[in-house]
Amino acid sequence: MDQQTKDLINKEIMNNDVCLFMKGTPDAPQCGFSMAVSNMLKILEVNYKGVNVLESQALREGIKEFSDWPTIPQVYIKGEFVGGCDIFKEMYENGELKKILETKEVSFKK
């Protein structure tokens, strides 16, 4: 991964409390898994930044290397990788996600 891509990823996860690396945008997701995660965040009324990895091949490959995670979407909360679609959905369903948001002091609809 080149330095420019690494810097871009670092900037996004540091500047946004909740950052979703996804295919497409929150308004127009291009993949069902990205849409699923995006919708869960919307339901919880979490203020998040969607980063469209389809805009750059370097970013699309770079984020996989950065997180050591082979799939997209990927969610970062306060700079920490919390998982992809499966883990996020599981945490959403079992209430763990709300605990993480609370612990990390991210506002959401209770």
Binding site: F33, K64, W69, P70, T71, G83, D86
Partner: protein, 75 residues
């Protein structure tokens, strides 16, 4: 590109020998699967580490030959 269900199961079991693997072909297209993997080797690990063990067992096929594999891990 598609990947055979049996091949996925074989790779996971090769890396995690005591794993009980249940795989479903979600769309019937050999491209969208869901796998539930149960293993004692997951104990003491968080979900990210558990899923990484499964991804690693697939030797880089995830995201390439294998487009979509929903994973659920159980201890």
């Amino acid at each position: 590109m598609a990947m055979d269900l049996k091949e996925i199961e074989r790779l996971i079991k090769e890396a995690i020998p005591d794993a009980i693997v249940e795989i479903q072909d979600l769309a019937g297209d050999g491209n969208h699967y869901s796998a539930t993997v149960t293993s004692t080797q997951f104990s003491g690990k968080n979900k990210i580490e558990q899923h990484k063990m499964v991804y690693n067992s697939l030797q880089g096929k995830m995201g390439n030959e294998l487009h979509a594999l929903a994973i659920k891990t159980k201890e």
